[in-house]
């Protein structure tokens, strides 16, 4: 099952299938939105790179330890290290999980 990282329960582990942060909406909208999206696309690429630099690469096991209160960032455990990831970004990381 392919779901966003944010959909994992605390303590659940998934295998990352995509960190390209799903730029699927790009291209479906008008000129102005596309222009905005180009900036976004660049940002998406940068963050995808940041995620993979920190060890969140496709095929890697990632465990959601918990999320900060009031819809805050996620605490995840990956490759033995502990990371905090903003919720918006985490929701665009897809993981495969067996339930």
């Amino acid at each position: 099952m392919n779901i966003p990282l944010t959909a994992l329960k605390n303590g659940e582990t998934g295998v990352i299938t995509s960190t390209d942060l799903n730029s699927e909406h790009i291209g479906m909208c008008g000129h102005k939105a596309r222009k905005r999206h180009r900036g976004r696309h660049f940002m998406v690429a940068r963050f995808s790179k940041r995620l993979s630099d920190l060890g969140l690469t496709p095929g890697t096991k990632v465990t959601v330890v918990k999320s900060a209160p009031f819809n805050g960032p996620l605490e995840v455990s990956v490759r033995g290290s502990r990371l905090a990831i903003g919720r918006g970004m985490a929701s665009r990381i897809l993981v495969d999980v067996e339930r």
């Binding site: 993979s52 060890g55 209160p69 960032p73």
Partner: protein, 643 residues
């Protein structure tokens, strides 16, 4: 002798104990500044070892040599173009895989390398044992175990470093290899790249092109656009093959290599019983307990600093002002004496009574928290709230600092990753009521109008911060960033490193703020001595009297406030000849005055910090905006309150 003079750079992930090693190596022979034109801290130091003079450069803590942050860019530029004689890669023994991911990139840069595997004692407790000889064999570079906090292994590391630089040991550094599909394309690109002149190794450039690195691409584009086109084609091919973006594929494979290396050089056994630091982490980031603990901690720190500060500041002030009679006997009480005392000495005293009692303990506690790892937990908890003003969790730290003093707040914006985020945070930071502003709020409105009005002003200030932060966030071009950071294990702060950081920060503050405060005091004293205060009051009276509805003399107080905000209150008392402001000002006037004083300008030291970090133009822009904004808000408040 120049042949005995070397340059060594320290590189590695954040939180691996790099700065502790730096401090162990260089002691007090340090120079902390900025990288030219960048708001990235540059720490340099000198060391004498066995007749060698070695300059040590502590590169920022980073996870990769890409272009995510300015730090990464600065580091790789330094290694590639300044070509230090050796790079010491400090590696966390308990997080080998991710640390080796960075090591592989250093190997790709083909720089002379030595690896210091640090915190081996902590790793042992976690059940991780590293085989150094095996690591040395596989990586082809010297590998030295160290425990930086106790200085263990540092001597050996230096000996090895000299050996590598003088090439007395022959080493064959590992050349990381990727999967076949990538490797073929790298080789094709290398052939093309070998025909042009670049300041980086061809293979590294080839890999960076596949990683879609815009900076490298720009450089290659200038020389040979065809190579860039080929690289793009290769990227598309690899994307088709793997179903992920090419930079991700490259990172993925690099991690694969790092993982394999790590498993070959470390043995993992059962960790010892779950240590205290794990429990500490759990409770400080807990859903329910996290916030109260944070709140209590921050409040305790502020209360401690302010009660300590108030006491020592008064003591220090009395002591220094006690020198006045002695001064008078030397310089006399004439105009010259008055200028020197009122303009220069009082400026120095004013600066000292802020710097020593408040800033010093402030920085010390801040670095204590940072070194222990608590600040990243605070950022984790505050992320959501900071999002409301268009920032992310890390920005809470400079904002929190600003409640003490805006200057460290501005300088603290360096922890943000991008220039855009730094500027946004700095803007928010200058709106935060600092300790001196609190003195005005509490001393004027709190004492003479009512504490509920003082509280209301704080709330209004917060609302303004959130609103303006959001607007600036929307208005400023560029990409927004989100929180992504490591929460490394809690550890005992290394007091020597903390003390040194505190000292260098304090020095930075003094060097930056003092000349401004003194020059400002002098100018204002000059104006006063030349009897120009009244004409100036008249000139600005349309603003103060007509628009804001304040007594005319408040103009002078507000001008003095540019130096240090608490001076507004002191001046007001002097000008009115009484500290019982209720006799001379109406409640509305006090509220309006405080509102304006709270918002109207970052004080001269803060402006200095802004100039230092962002340049004249942006500093001026923020200053002018805030003056205009404060006057607008003040005027509106005056009209609303007198309806």
């Amino acid at each position: 002798m120049s042949s005995k003079h070397f340059r060594i750079a320290l590189a590695g992930n954040a939180n691996v104990g790099k700065s502790v090693i730096f401090n162990q190596l260089t002691g007090l022979h340090q120079h902390i500044g900025n990288w030219p034109g960048k708001t990235v801290e540059k720490a340099e130091g000198t060391l004498h070892f066995k007749g060698y003079t070695i300059d040590i450069i502590d590169l920022p803590g980073i996870y990769s040599l890409s272009t995510f942050s300015i730090e990464e860019l600065v580091s790789r530029e330094y290694i590639a173009t300044e070509k230090p004689d050796l790079v010491i890669n400090v590696v966390d023994a308990s997080l080998l895989e991710r640390n080796l991911f960075f090591t592989l990139q250093l190997l790709e840069l083909e720089t002379p390398l030595l690896i210091a595997v640090n915190q081996v004692d902590m790793a042992k407790k976690k059940g991780i044992i590293v085989d150094y000889e095996q690591a040395e064999k596989i990586l082809g570079v010297p590998v030295v175990p160290t425990v930086a906090v106790s200085g263990k292994g540092i001597y050996r590391m230096l000996e090895k470093a000299i050996e590598v630089i003088e090439k007395t040991t022959k080493m064959e550094p590992l050349k990381p290899r990727y999967g076949q599909e990538i490797e073929e394309r790298i080789e094709d690109l290398v052939i093309l790249l070998s025909k042009i002149q670049l300041r980086y190794p061809a293979r590294w450039v080839a890999i960076k092109l596949l990683e879609d690195d815009k900076e490298v691409e720009k450089e290659v584009l200038e020389v040979n656009p065809e190579i860039v086109a080929t690289a793009e084609q290769f990227r598309n091919e690899l994307e088709q093959l793997h179903g992920h973006s090419c930079p991700t594929v490259v990172s993925c494979e690099r991690y694969h290599v790092a993982g394999k290396l790590a498993s070959e050089i470390q043995a993992i056994t059962e960790p010892l019983t779950p240590p205290l630091r794990e429990r500490l982490h759990k409770v400080t980031t807990h859903r329910i307990f996290g916030f109260p603990i944070m709140l209590a901690t921050v409040l305790a720190v502020f209360v401690a600093i302010f009660s300590f500060g108030d006491f020592t500041s008064a003591l220090l002030g009395d002591l220094l002002f006690g020198l006045k009679p002695a001064f008078d006997t030397v310089f006399g009480t004439g105009t010259i004496g008055e200028l020197i005392w009122g303009g220069v000495i009082e400026g120095i005293i004013g600066g000292l009574t802020v710097a020593l009692p408040y800033i010093l303990p402030f920085y010390f506690i801040l670095y204590l928290f940072e070194d222990s790892g608590y600040l990243s937990r605070v950022a984790f908890l505050m992320d959501n709230l900071m999002h409301k003003m268009g920032l992310h969790g890390k920005a809470f730290i400079p904002v929190m600092l600003s409640f003490g003093c805006n200057v460290p707040g501005c300088l603290g914006c360096r922890i943000m990753e991008t220039t855009r985020e730094r500027l946004l945070t700095a803007f928010v930071v200058t709106l935060v009521p600092c300790a001196a502003t609190s003195v005005i709020i509490l001393g004027l409105v709190g004492a003479h109008v009512g504490i509920e009005w003082a509280l209301a002003l704080y709330i209004i200030n917060l609302i303004i911060i959130f609103a303006l932060g959001r607007i600036a966030f929307k208005a400023l071009p560029g990409e927004p960033t989100e929180l992504i950071m490591e929460m490394s294990d809690y550890r005992m702060p290394h007091i020597k490193t903390v003390a040194k950081q505190t000292w260098f920060r304090l020095r930075e503050f003094i060097v930056m703020a003092f000349p401004l405060i003194i020059a400002g005091s002098f100018v204002i004293k000059l104006v006063e001595v030349a009897n120009l205060l009244e004409p100036i009051t008249d000139i600005i009276s349309p603003v103060t009297v007509v628009w804001l509805g304040l007594p005319a003399v408040t103009g002078i107080a507000l001008i003095f406030g540019v130096l240090r905000k608490e001076l507004t209150l002191i001046m007001l008392a002097t000008l009115f000849g009484t500290a019982n402001f209720a006799q001379v000002m109406t409640p509305v006037q006090m509220i309006v005055f405080t509102l304006v004083a709270m918002l109207y300008i970052p004080c001269v030291a803060t402006i200095g910090a802004l100039v230092k970090e962002f340049g004249w133009k942006k500093a001026l822009l923020i200053t002018v905006f805030e003056i205009a904004f404060a006057l607008l808000v003040g005027g509106i408040a005056f009209r609303l309150l007198t309806i």
